[in-house]
């Protein structure tokens, strides 16, 4: 789109200009400090090195400017759009949100020079002109305000340069503030997730009651039935199948690698197993859909069983393969954490290796192993691509792994990747499902990490 291209070059120019301003102020402030010190020999009389004075000025110029730049970037379009809409004739303002957004799109496209919309009403053409003008004004204002802020800030800082000014401290405080900001982004992310998912879910629950969603057994979005129980059971079944594969294989692999294997064997076997964790899930999904599912379907056919080409079995098996390293790596860690003294005591009494492992080490490591299984389960529940590509779309309340079921993540994807408008319950249900998913995996993760940590404390 022409708009986006223009946006980039404009921003590019602005940034270059801004950088120029900052460079000027750096040298100016640094020079001023040097002058105050009477040349390079007198630097000792300054509180900080001259370059800190330069940095001080740069920060005072840059930070207000950058904040303004970000604000413009995020808020310019919404504000301009709101202004244009407020000037639309009443009949258009009262359109439904979905139709209004279509109109806004038309206006934007027309303003951007898209000539394919020749046959539009005069109001839209007017609005587009309006939009173009407002946009141009906003861009011009952006340049002026940002550069002005930079210059004013820089001047202010420059004027305060003196030998007594504790430039380095100021600069370091600002840097510290930036670092705190970085750390806090993690909290913002969590808050963002919770709020956004919650907000949209609440909108969903205005259409469909909470209890019907959580406890209903009939799921068919096209008929506005949103009982999610079949979805939950589908997720559960596939996850259980996955764990049935991953836990034995992962645990026994961990046992062998940590207790029986030579260092040499362990050195190459462990990384090779880890490869399974690094393969993108879309690859697993492809493998599941094109190789594993037909394999099971054909196997069933030849044995006289009816195995669906989208069986929970196929998706569950492939997901299990993916999760093996989760179980084996974490179990390996916890098994190694069991103190050698335990093993000595057991061997000293004449136990064989397998007896020591089964009766002493594994029971001692059990909390940690349980933690790793929980984390693996959480991973299985939240997995998307394998099930989107290999599991079914239709909700099916069953305990038969040969049938096709659907999961929470599949329904989230189908709800949002379709062509529905953003406001219908068919789309909003994705957020309600996302809320459940987030809550469940959060609880599992917290619990698992808690268990593992308590277990570690026992032995440290």
């Amino acid at each position: 789109m022409h708009y986006q291209g223009a946006l980039v070059t404009q921003s590019g120019t602005l940034i270059i200009l801004l950088l120029g301003v900052l460079a000027v102020f750096f040298y100016a402030a640094k020079q001023r400090a040097l002058n105050a010190a009477g040349g390079a020999s007198g630097i000792r009389t300054l509180h900080s090195l001259p370059r800190y004075y330069g940095a001080y000025a740069v920060l005072w110029a840059a930070i207000p400017a950058l904040v303004a730049l970000l604000a413009w970037g995020f808020f310019q379009d919404p504000i301009v759009t709101k202004l244009v809409v407020s000037h639309l004739p009443p009949q258009q303002k009262s359109l439904s949100e979905a139709e209004l957004s279509l109109v806004i799109n038309d206006i934007r496209n027309l303003a951007a020079g898209d000539r394919s919309l020749d046959a539009v009403s005069s109001q839209i053409a007017l609005a587009a002109e309006h939009y173009k003008n407002l946009h141009a004004t906003a861009v011009a204002a952006k340049f002026v305000v940002i550069l002005a802020l930079a210059v004013v800030g820089g001047l202010f800082a420059w004027s305060r340069v003196s030998p007594r000014l504790q430039a380095r401290n100021r600069v370091e405080n600002i840097i510290r503030g930036v670092l705190i900001l970085c750390s806090v982004i993690a909290i913002f992310t969590t808050i963002g997730i919770v709020l956004s998912v919650l907000f949209e879910s609440i909108r969903f629950f205005e259409y469909i009651p909470f209890t019907e969603f959580l406890f209903g057994t009939h799921w068919n979005p096209s008929t506005n039935s949103f009982g999610a129980i079949p979805i939950f059971t589908g997720t559960l079944m596939i996850s259980v199948i996955a764990l049935l594969i991953a836990v034995p294989v992962g645990l026994m692999s961990a046992v062998y690698l940590s207790e029986y294997a030579s260092n040499h064997f362990r050195a190459w076997a462990k990384p090779l197993l880890e490869i399974l964790a690094g393969i993108p899930t879309v690859v697993y999904g492809f493998f599941a859909a094109l190789t594993v599912a037909p394999f099971f379907a054909n196997l069933g056919h030849s044995l006289g069983w009816d195995i669906s080409p989208e069986s929970a079995l196929a998706a569950g098996v492939v997901m299990g393969i993916m999760i093996i390293p989760f179980v084996s790596s974490l179990s390996d860690d916890v098994i190694n954490a069991v103190p050698q003294a335990m093993r000595d005591a057991s061997y000293g009494m004449g136990a064989t290796k397998s007896e020591t492992i089964m009766k002493v080490i594994l029971p001692a490591a059990l909390p940690g192993i349980v933690g790793s299984v929980l984390l693996a389960a959480s991973r299985a529940i939240g997995e998307t691509m394998i099930v989107v590509m290999a599991a079914g779309l239709a909700a099916n309340l069953t305990a038969n792994p040969f049938e096709a079921v659907t999961t929470v993540t599949v329904q989230i994807v189908t709800a949002l990747v379709g062509d529905q408008e953003f406001d219908s319950p068919k789309t909003l249900v994705a957020f309600a499902l996302g809320l459940v998913l987030f809550a469940v995996t959060l609880v599992l993760n917290i619990f698992a990490l808690h268990v593992v940590r308590k277990y570690r404390e026992q032995y440290d």
Binding site: M349, G350, A351
Partner: protein
Amino acid sequence: MNQAVEFEEMEHEIVGTVGTPLVDNPKMSTRNVDVFYGDKQAIFDVNLDLSANEVIALIGPSGCGKSTYLRCLNRMNDTIDICRVTGQLLLDEEDIYDKSMDPVLLRARVGMVFQKPNPFPKSIYDNVAYGPKLHGLASNRAELDEIVVTSLQKAGLFNEVKDRLDALGTGLSGGQQQRLCIARTIAVSPEVILMDEPASALDPIATAVIEELIDELRENFTIAIVTHSMQQAARVSQRTAYFHLGKLVEVGETNQIFTNPSHQLTENYITGRFG
């Protein structure tokens, strides 16, 4: 001549063990034992017998190899990859390093108590019952109960824990834990018990209890105890063996060793010139 040079001269004088390393009808007997960790030799040509139903103390400065030697007697050194043992070690005239000797069986006959108490994170009952269950020494629950109770009694712990046999073994005090480990070891009815500094992690009162226990156990078991404390060796053992830098310097009746040692190195150690 100053002390250091004296010591060096004496180094060269360890030729053969002084005293009474060998006995008639030993329970365990070791001849020409060398132990290597990789290329480094830790034990040099040790000849020593353990007499039945005696307590023999192994003493010597840190790092002199007493624990290493002890661990040869029940093949615990097998668990260390780079450790190599040569020589002849016999239990009741059977070569314990022979291919036909099963280490599992050996360790059922020669038990070990470690320096730091290491009870399993199981109940007191399960800790003691672990060995008998493993080896199938009890054919039913009643027999197992009996073994557990008897072992705890012999270890002098029963009265303190009889009401809470289901409690976690790791919840006991240090001294109690060590007695639990001893109970665990004797539950298998071994013939020999090896103790590697069993009281060094305990307070004096708990230590005294353990020492008393060792004396009682002597009735039924042959005990070899490595100890840092000469006083403990004096209190507890009938014979004492002095190790120095991997060599067995002198063995003799405990009284004699501590009052009138034959070798100069032994005397130096006992009188505290080095340790």
